[in-house]
Amino acid sequence: MPRRRTQTLQLLMALGLALFPFFAGDYWLHTGIICLFYIMMASSWNLLAGYTGQVSFAHAAFAGVGAYVSGLAAIHFHLPPLLGALLGMAVAAFLGLLLGVLCIRMGGIYLSLTTLAFSEMLRIIIDNEYEFTRGTMGLSVPFILPVYSKTTAYFLMGAVTVAVLCVIRSIVRSDLGTAFRAVQNDETAAASLGIHVVKVRLAAFVISSTMAGLAGALYGHYHQLITPEILSLNLMFFVLAIAVIGGMGTFVGPIVGAIFLEFLSEYIRIYGQFHVLLFGLIALAVCRFAPQGLMGLWQRRMRALSS
């Protein structure tokens, strides 16, 4: 696409997003905010899975860590939610580092299974330490801002999302990003060229866990309710489906996927229980027939048009 048109498009999109709260009702604003959360989650998971080829099932768990740390800090130590979110992020980073050191040198399937075990352990602890975490009932936490306002929350979440996306973009374009992709493409070859594969993977794991922690903390405070559901495989599936459908290993893929799936899920809400089935089927079809996702299809189309 010519540069001019891309810029115009970006400008229009930014304008649309900025004006969104003023013509959307409360309900669609809420949907928009949830969508921002999913964009952060899917993009940061994509940084790990799409760019370094490590499928972690603990991404939702790290969002849960962020949310619970921040929520508990707000309740027990009266920490303002925004500071709490930073704390949650830090704890998620630390746990990510620990778990990463433990399982990254094994890589591949071992990493996937270990992260799965980690997220289940965390869920069991939260369920059981009822006195502290309020278990399945959920933890009621203060709103993200001193005054309740969906519009302000939208702009806050939007700003953080843009920041997270910028960080991801600059990482992907940096030497570290090149190293990520080299490791994903062929770790033996990368190692033979002097790339410290374990360190590179660990970096990806910690960065993406940190971002998940931040997203989770904001999400929890926006909802004013944190439940073990945030750590569940359901949320994990949703994040994975967004990245897969949008296109793994592309920057725009998870964003497109999140918007597509979140708004689709609102439109087909009347079919309630079946929307997960539908997402699953779409994701399965994409995995099978278009492994590059929607972005892959789009790029192929653009290429076909230009040639």
Partner: protein, 243 residues
């Protein structure tokens, strides 16, 4: 102090002994050929030197440093680069990015600079892939992939390059060009080369020393002309022909 010193290295896979106690030394600035029948353990030996597999016994020293237990990235940073028997470029990355990986592997994440861009372009031009700079590696043909691997290996500023079968599948004209390239690697970059090859005729034109491996052991070594006349070598190759 020897440049590369391989001392009695052994590698076993389960019951199979792939490398059964090989020792040799290489002097700097040479082009050394490594030949032997299929399954002689040539590629395994490369993997041991490059650190891809750990040695079960023996030692490897390079420029006075012990690299026996080193991981591949460390071996690379010490100045040994390699190519693979079946080319392994980063398929989803452009040729340019492929070479950049070699640079950041050696120098760390320093970011794109004008000097670096020039260096990448130089290397790609050197192997003749300048026109494919922004092509993804999976679109290259077999020869081009091999060339890209060489450029990538040179990007790590190696003192020693391990080449694993560069000439397979090339026609006569292409082979001549490749031989020029290999000579140029040594002459222009001052790199020592250890080279596995099956295309004997071509190999003989370039190498200054030959190592012959058979069933995991070093059969003989020396001047190429002398080595090929050695009855043990002839027997090893004839034995293979009988199979």
């Amino acid at each position: 102090m020897a440049f590369l010193e391989v001392q009695n290295v052994v590698k076993r896979f389960g019951g199979l002994v792939a490398v059964a106690g090989v020792s040799f030394e290489i002097e700097p600035g040479r082009i050394v050929g490594l030949i032997g029948p299929n399954g002689a353990g040539k590629t395994t030996l490369f993997n041991l030197i490059a650190g891809t597999f750990p040695c079960d016994e023996g030692a490897i020293r390079f420029c006075g440093e012990d690299l026996t237990r080193s991981r591949p990235y460390h071996v690379c940073r010490k100045g040994i680069a390699r190519t693979f028997q079946i080319a392994r470029p980063f398929h989803e990355m452009t040729c340019y990015e492929n070479v950049v990986v070699g640079l950041i592997g050696r120098d760390g994440f320093r970011g794109e600079t004008e000097a670096r861009r020039r260096r990448v372009e130089e290397l790609l031009e050197f192997v003749g892939l300048k026109d494919f700079m922004h092509t993804e590696a999976r679109h290259l043909n077999l020869i081009q992939k091999k060339l890209l691997e060489i450029a990538r290996a040179l990007a790590t500023r190696p003192k020693l390059v391990l080449l694993d079968e560069v000439l397979g599948g090339l026609n006569t004209g292409e082979i001549l060009k490749a031989l020029d390239l290999i000579r140029a690697i040594r002459d222009r970059f001052g790199v020592t080369i250890l080279w596995i090859e099956h295309v004997m005729g071509a190999l003989m034109q370039v190498v200054e020393r030959l190592l012959v491996l058979d069933r995991g052991r070093l059969l003989c070594e020396g001047e190429p002309a002398a080595v090929v006349k050695d009855p043990r070598v002839i027997e090893a190759y004839l034995g293979e022909a009988d199979d």
